[in-house]
């Protein structure tokens, strides 16, 4: 030890406390040049805290960070950059109205006669972009770019400063599967040029696909270090969660009953008045899950909004258990028995500044016993919330906490608890596990199956193909506002579904 070359980065014995929370406890990490080091852990495991310490945003309470063997004492991001450490945050830090090139060079602009030389900046950015296969036009304006490309701009910012350690905090959380693949290729390319990449995620597939080394964290501690050859997804999942996890949902075959939701020739426009659904037909029976697979933006959102009454219908009909619901208000439809887990829980599913208790009754606060004659009855609300928090294992189990203070997975449990808890006939679940950790994904999937078995008809819309295939009894593929196939999930060919999602045709 110590005789050979010291690692690009070494963390030893780092402990960091936020008030009562021990975010990092005696953490060690060794990052080698030219390797992709995956940092894996559930939400709240302390991954962001650790990399923020490395990047100089936080100061460790104890412990040290060494760079090429020398102890680092960083006082903020600028110091980190000076030591060739770059970081792509979960929330981008770009100036939306500036061009790609301007954003990349911002703070370190090439100048000519004291004036910023934008042409040279653009040239440098173009060269970097080509070298690493990032495929970005330096002249485009950042706010016009999709999230995936904006992320590449962040990566370029770091590369422009010639970092040789690049940290990415959950970079794939915001990406589509295609963008994710592209990013993983870029990271591989970077590592091949000698950059040490620290890649935070909680998606096992990605880790197995791209990592050279894996460090797993749980509750502030490092609980394991391994390489992909010595492990598999279920091993990693158990390490992350701290107990055996079933990655493949155990489920009995469905025993479908009567038709509960019938969608016939449904035509719907999107916000820009262009056609989003071109005559969709779909039916769901009591006691079955129908999954809609598709690349995002092929009409899924409009389908969900039409069924829940949030979006007007151009033509066609939606029938709930024999009753037409087309044209009714969201509240009427909800009362008639359609529950809805919306795709974006923060934006559409929850009111962050309300308490957990208030969010738990957001769909029925106006019913008894939660209110009487228009006057709220907080005691009844609290009782119900206490029961649901326990049943759905929301943590921390504090019904008076603001929902905004919960982790993503627990927020999603609040939404699920609320939507499952009124006796609905149909559940529309849009991206029900997006961005939450394995333990909670497992939990939500189990619930979906339980309610299915109790006779609910479930429409599952998800961008995660694995989720659709794992939970559904029948799989419908949506492409260009049409259902291009609908068949039993049993024995379905994953690659064929993938092709249908991408091109609408099988071949």
């Amino acid at each position: 030890m110590g005789v050979a070359e010291s690692p690009a980065l070494e963390v030893q014995g780092v402990t960091k406390r936020f008030g009562d929370v021990l975010a990092n406890e005696d953490v060690g990490l060794r990052v080698e040049r030219g390797r992709i080091h995956a940092l894996l852990g559930e939400n709240g495991a302390g991954k962001s805290t650790l990399v923020n310490i490395i990047f100089g945003l936080y100061q460790a309470d104890t412990g040290e960070v060494r760079r090429n063997g020398e102890v680092l004492n960083l006082n903020g991001p600028r110091d980190a950059i000076a030591h060739q450490i770059g970081m792509v945050h979960q929330h981008f830090q770009l100036v939306p109205v500036l061009s790609v090139a301007e954003n990349v060079v911002l703070g370190d602009e090439p100048t000519r006669h004291g004036v910023v030389d934008l042409d040279r900046a653009a040239a440098v950015v173009r060269e970097l972009s080509e070298r690493f296969g990032l495929d970005i036009d330096p002249k485009s304006i950042v706010e016009d770019l999709p999230i995936g490309i904006q992320q590449r701009v962040e990566i370029l910012r770091a590369l422009y400063r010639e970092v040789d350690i690049l940290i990415l905090d959950e970079p794939t959380a915001v990406l589509t599967p295609q963008e994710t693949n592209h990013l993983l290729n870029v990271l591989r390319g970077l590592a091949d040029t000698g950059v040490a990449v620290v890649f935070i995620t909680h998606k096992l597939r990605e880790v197995m696909a791209v990592a050279d080394e894996i460090t797993v964290m749980r509750r502030g501690r490092v609980v394991g270090h391994t390489v992909p050859a010595d492990t598999d997804e279920s091993d990693l999942a158990s390490m992350m969660v701290g107990r055996p996890v079933e990655l493949r949902l155990k489920r009995t075959p469905a025993s479908p009953g009567d038709e509960m939701l019938t969608i016939a020739d449904l035509v719907v426009d999107d916000d820009r008045q262009t056609r989003a659904l071109n005559g969709i037909n779909l039916d769901i029976r009591a006691g079955e899950v129908v999954g809609v697979a598709g690349v995002e933006g092929n009409g899924q959102r409009e389908l969900v909004e039409a069924v829940t009454g949030l979006r007007g219908v151009v033509s066609g009909s939606i029938i709930l258990d024999g009753e037409e619901i087309t044209g009714r208000s969201p509240r009427q439809i909800s009362t008639m028995g359609v529950a809805h887990i919306p795709e974006d829980r923060e934006k559409f599913g929850l009111i962050g500044a309300h308490t957990v208790a208030d969010n738990m009754v957001l769909n029925r606060y106006h019913h008894r016993p939660y209110s009487r004659h228009g006057i709220r009855r907080p005691a009844a609300v609290d009782d119900e919330a206490t029961r649901l928090v326990e049943e759905f294992d929301v943590r921390p189990p504090n019904i008076a906490a603001m929902v905004a203070t919960l982790s993503g997975g627990n927020k999603q449990k609040v939404v699920a608890a609320r939507e499952f808890s009124h006796d609905s006939k149909v559940m529309v679940a849009a991206q029900p596990t997006r961005g939450i950790d394995i333990g909670n994904i497992e939990f939500i999937h189990r619930r979906l199956i339980e309610y299915r078995d109790a006779g609910m008809a479930i429409l599952l819309v998800s961008a995660e193909l694995d989720e659709v295939l794992g939970v559904s009894d029948r799989v419908a593929v949506i492409y260009g506002g049409r259902i291009v196939s609908c068949e039993p999930a049993e024995g379905i060919d994953r690659d064929r579904v993938g092709r249908l999602m991408l091109s609408g045709a099988d071949g």
Binding site: R78, D108, T308, G374, R376
Partner: protein
Amino acid sequence: MKMLKPVAVPLIAVGLALGIGAIILAVSGANPIEAYGALIDGSLSSQKTVGRTLEKATPLIMGGLAVAFAFRAGLFNIGGQGQLVVGGIFSAAVGFGFEGLPWIIHAPMALAIGALAGAAWGSIAGILKATRGAHEVITTIMLNFVALNLTDWLASNPWKDEGILSRTPAVEESALIPLWGSFPTGFLVAVAASIGCWYLLERTNLGFEIRSVGLNGDAARYVGISVQRIVIATMAISGLLAGAGGAIETQGVIGRYEPGFNAGLGFNGITIALLARNHPLGVIPAALLIGAMEAGGSMMQFNADVAPEITDIIEALMLLFVATPIVVRWFFSRQEVAEVSVTAGWGSS
């Protein structure tokens, strides 16, 4: 600590404003201690001055409530002034238009009609927003002009008093909101309105819907709350509060409607709501503070030979400090500002 914090920012803002006011006084050659002494003298020293303070505070409470209430639904009602004058002239019309009614009927009736007129006026902006998407800041500002012209016209044509002045006749005695000794009864109405607003917001379904729409309109819509209905209802209630403020001022202080009688009252509502951090009960102390400065301002001129405009400057400074909490927070805790700048990112020099 945590409990103190919401109160701390306004308190520090007030302190800073008074401090800077003292410096301005000193620079302009006055004695700040003497001036502030006179201010207190003119607002708090006797039953009579306290009564004046309460009287000044009353329409301020109502205007502040109007802004604060709308804000809880995420709406910025700049139209308090218009709603107030409409409320004022309609309460005056009821006040002089009926004779021989007993007080117990006449005064509440004039107050109620004034309040409803304000509600109607406020709901115009609500309807425009709900059905046409017109921004309430624009429409309420425009409606202020319409209201001023409309009331001017009413006061100089159909509802004009005899004589040359453009104003309505004095209201009947039975429509007055009387003084109780030197205590203005209208103040009780304003306090009751504050408590009522608090109850409505915190304890009723409508209030829950209003707060939900204000905090996250998208989520509110997704769970089936009709955002349009809430926008209209909120603007109507906001207008009701401002209109009642105009009615109380008409029936309790002026005794008739005179154009320009209360220029600026509606706009002070914004200051009050900010100082109160949009809390309906916080509006009371905030309005008392501004009311005291207005009541004491003339004493300051008389005793300390200071232009009463200094109170406007101090009010403006309070507004500035409350609206820019970062300044106050810096004063409160340097720590937090350090954290804010950390998130500002890297690379920029």
